[in-house]
């Protein structure tokens, strides 16, 4: 890590419920410590459109469910030194991937009940992203450096993994799937 | 395979004779299932319940055993059956293409296409068995033609070609 600048931390949100980010906010007063130790340069909680370059640590919540996620995840990977799969959806697919048990068309039909909508969604108009046939985990698409399971991961475990990676150490193990 | 003829009572009698021959021992379950399938062509829940009672076995055990083995079937057999041998020798000689074409052909005319493990004719690979008759050094075209021919022979009269 470049010692001349504060490490840059980003969090991103793909196909998930944002519960992991809520848990992130549960860091409460530790957020202040974190802001001191790292420059939180991008997050869905902030008003920045583009994922920045030269990120040191990226926490990515959610699974890869559509073409936007696919593109965004590849960008995040290219621009981040360390990528952490943040929470069960990112790590296992979790609830987001439960639709993999059924063909996509059946899911859409059940959701919208209108064949016209289902047809439209197979080649949706801009800016609606096309859904992938199958929901993917982050590591199905890109190289992932660390995994933080949990639905959501506890604030403690989030703090621990960030501080460990910032310190260049191996994060603690023994984390559970689920809650 | 067409189930043996005869009425229900006669079949049951034949099955009971097989069970009696094995002294109604649970050890004979597989033999008894073979005998039942020979009589009826496939195994129904009713048959398996009957066997379970007679051999004094839990029903779940009877179904557990029956479903463990490939040869037992639980639905009535299709009128025509083609088996493409998927033994190594046949595979190396192109059985996968044979299977593809048989599956396409079967979509057109009531055949059930299954795969077999090795019919003992590796020297004549690839082999397919149509309604019990083996075809050696089979080609996709020859197999589809044979399936059409057998279908037409069994279903005389005009029909729409698919």
């Amino acid at each position: 890590m470049d010692l001349n600048r504060r490490p840059r931390l980003a969090t991103a949100w793909l196909g998930g419920c944002s519960g992991c980010h809520m848990s992130f906010l549960d860091l409460d007063e530790r957020l202040i410590d974190l802001a001191a130790a790292a420059d939180i340069c991008y997050s869905p909680l902030m008003d920045i459109k583009e994922f920045p370059e030269a990120v040191d640590i990226a926490l990515v919540e959610g699974a890869v469910a559509n073409e936007d996620h696919l593109r965004d995840l590849r960008t995040i990977r290219a621009r981040s030194k360390t990528l952490i799969a943040f929470g069960d959806c990112a790590v296992t697919g979790n609830v987001t991937a439960m639709r993999n048990l059924f063909p996509l068309e059946n899911i859409l039909e059940a959701a919208y009940g209108d064949p016209a909508v289902v047809r439209a969604l197979s080649a949706p108009p801009d800016p609606v992203p096309r859904l992938l046939g199958r929901v993917l985990r982050l590591h199905d698409v890109v190289e992932v450096d660390w995994y933080l399971p949990g639905c959501p991961p506890s604030a403690d475990s989030i703090f621990e993994i960030i501080t460990a990676v910032l310190a260049g150490k191996k994060p603690p193990g023994g984390r559970k799937f689920g809650c | 395979m067409i189930p043996a003829s005869g009425n229900e009572d006669e079949r049951l009698k034949a099955l009971d004779a097989v069970m009696a021959g094995h002294h109604y021992s649970g050890h004979a379950l597989i033999e008894v299932l073979h005998a039942a399938q020979k009589e009826w062509g496939y195994l129904t829940s009713g048959l398996m319940r009957h066997i379970a009672r007679k051999l004094r076995l839990p029903p779940s055990r009877v179904l557990g055993v029956a479903t463990f083995y490939h040869l037992f079937r639980f639905t009535s057999p299709a009128p025509h059956e083609a088996v493409v041998c998927m033994g190594t020798a046949c595979y190396v000689q192109g059985a996968a293409n044979l299977l593809d074409s048989a599956r396409r052909a079967c979509a057109r005319n009531g055949w059930a296409v299954t795969t077999g493990r090795c019919v003992g004719s590796c020297g004549l690979a690839p082999v397919a068995v149509c309604d019990g008759a083996a075809m050696s050094r089979a080609t996709p075209a020859a197999l589809s033609a044979e399936m059409e021919r057998k279908y037409d022979a069994a279903n005389p009269g005009p029909r729409a070609r698919g």
Partner: protein, 541 residues
């Protein structure tokens, strides 16, 4: 049956056959039957009748003469000639001896030594008299009336016979283990569940010479002190089952099995058990579970079957070819047998030679014959325009032998040293048109379908290995896939509960050892060197 009656029956049948002008034997085994041997036999019978040769020329069935690829095969006993590719229209010429024929110095037969298949092509498997005329049941007579159980076991031990089922465990040791058990009830089981796809050795022996197997089993029963034998046959081989049923009935009628064999107090009953399609039942504890009427799931070992097998009783399990070797060993002695083949694995081995080779069929050679001799001299090499790539032995549990190892002697020790195994005798030749990754995928699919599902590494591990291999052959492989395959291979070998799971990774390990570049080409260049695999995005061939 008494010793005198056996001798008289033998002489009478030999005499009868010698007085015939000719005895024409038609192959009645699966291979030739599928190329029309049934119709040929009927036309020969009609021709004999038409020419009024009823008492002079006899048409009979016989076992496999080997060259299945050139079937139907017919043999004239008097002329000692084999006719190949015979059609029904050839009947008059065959009877007249005017049909073109092969002789014993045909390259296919030259390198062979037919002990187990001695009667195949010479005797009718459906007639016990034929077997007796060929000296059958003489060994049993000796074993029952002139030898003690210890003496029989000593002969088998000294002969060096190794189990022909795959691993080559010394038969004598196994027999001794069972004989030593103090138990009033013991069993002898013949494992005829030949499930290896691409192997039909056992099936041909059962279809072509069933009495040889029965005789071997009864001798084993006498040696180990068992009164009951079971043959576990494949439900998929109806002809073998039919022949066995006929043979058992005949032997029982002649008091060669059943009660008071040769008028002694020795009883040995043989029953047939018919499998219902499960490769895993070739594993001996699974086979036991299946004979007992259960799901064919392997049981934990120890205890091993010689101590606790069928219904907890000591049980001797050997395969068809092992039992088929026994009568000749007992009749001719251990020394005679131990001089055939390789010193550490004497005798012969039957291979089902198939795949990309000119002459395909059943081949019996002295153990230790080189692979090259089998493929090139006996088999006539790979088809023109192609290049030998590998031979696969041992089926889904085995591995491949690359061109650089063509000189390997086919025996129980040399093959494991190069990463494969003898197996039950499947020998598939592959050439430049065969993709080795696809072959690995093919065998993994087989193991996945045949896994009993009890233990996790085999049930779930084969699924994952198969999915990785499938991905590679689709051209969607990941650079980490080879490492993942090896990691899973290691897991299956170390933790699977039975031989199926332990051996399932073998074809992958073996093809990775010799043909790693084919995997790499699929993964990195998205190209199948054999042009076999349909790569992602490529148009259908």
């Amino acid at each position: 049956m008494t010793p005198q009656i056996l001798a008289r029956a033998r002489e009478a049948e030999q005499d009868r056959q010698s007085r015939l002008r000719d005895r024409i034997l038609c192959c009645t085994v699966a291979g030739c039957l599928s190329s029309g041997a049934g119709a040929v036999r009927r036309s020969l019978e009609q021709e004999v009748e038409r020419q009024g040769l009823g008492g002079a020329v006899e048409i009979a069935g016989t076992g496999c003469m080997g060259l299945c690829g050139d079937g139907p095969l017919i043999r004239s006993s008097k002329r000692d000639l084999i006719y190949s590719k015979v059609a029904p229209g050839h009947a008059p010429a065959v009877i007249a001896g005017a049909h073109p024929a092969m002789t014993a110095d045909h390259p296919f037969y030259k390198g062979q030594r037919r002990l187990v298949l001695a009667n195949s092509g010479r005797a009718d498997p459906e007639r016990i008299r034929d077997y007796i005329a060929a000296g059958g049941y003489e060994a049993l007579l000796q074993a029952v009336t002139r030898m003690t159980p210890d003496e029989i076991i000593s002969v088998i031990r000294r002969s060096g016979l190794r189990g022909r089922g795959g691993a080559g465990y010394p038969a004598g040791l196994k027999w001794e283990l069972v004989a030593r058990q103090k138990s009033p009830v013991k069993y002898v089981v013949c494992n005829a569940d030949e499930g290896d796809p691409g192997a039909f050795m056992n099936r041909s022996v059962l279809e072509g010479d069933p009495h040889r197997v029965l005789e071997g089993m009864v001798i084993a029963g006498r040696a180990v002190g068992a009164q009951q034998g079971f043959i576990y046959a494949r439900g998929e081989s109806p002809l073998a089952i039919e022949r066995l049923q006929t043979a058992i009935g005949q032997a029982r009628n002649e008091r060669l099995c059943g009660e008071r064999i040769f008028d002694t107090s020795f009883n040995f009953r043989i029953d047939l058990r018919i499998g219902a399609g499960a490769y895993v039942c070739g594993e001996e504890t699974a086979l036991i579970a299946s004979i007992e009427g259960g799901r064919g799931q392997p049981r934990p070992r120890p205890p091993y079957p010689p101590e606790s097998g069928l219904w907890g009783a000591p049980t001797l399990i050997n395969n068809v070819e092992t039992f088929a070797n026994v009568p000749a060993i007992v009749a001719n002695g251990a020394e005679w047998f131990s001089k055939i083949g390789a010193p550490a694995s004497p005798g012969t081995k039957i291979f089902a030679l198939a795949g990309r080779v000119a002459r395909t069929g059943l081949v019996e050679v002295p153990v230790g014959t080189s692979l090259q001799t089998i493929i090139e001299d006996i088999g006539g090499g790979v088809p023109e325009g192609y290049e030998f790539k590998a031979a696969q032995t041992g089926g889904p549990a085995g591995g491949c032998i690359p061109a650089s190892a063509l000189g390997v002697p086919m025996d129980y020790d040399s093959l494991p040293a190069i990463g494969t195994m003898m197996g039950s005798g499947g020998l598939i030749v592959m050439d430049s048109s065969t993709c080795m990754v696809d072959i690995a995928r093919f065998f993994m699919e087989f193991c996945m379908e045949e896994s009993c599902g009890k233990c996790v590494p085999c049930r779930a591990g084969t699924v994952q290995m198969h999915s990785i291999l499938e991905r590679i052959t689709r051209g969607e492989g990941d650079p980490r896939d080879i490492a993942r395959l090896m990691e899973l291979a290691d897991l299956l070998q170390n933790t699977s509960a039975c031989g199926l799971g332990i051996a399932a990774p073998n074809p992958v390990i073996s093809t990775l050892r010799y043909f790693r570049e084919e995997y790499e080409s699929h993964i990195h260049a998205r190209r199948c060197p054999a042009a076999r695999c349909r790569m992602h995005g490529e148009a259908a061939a």
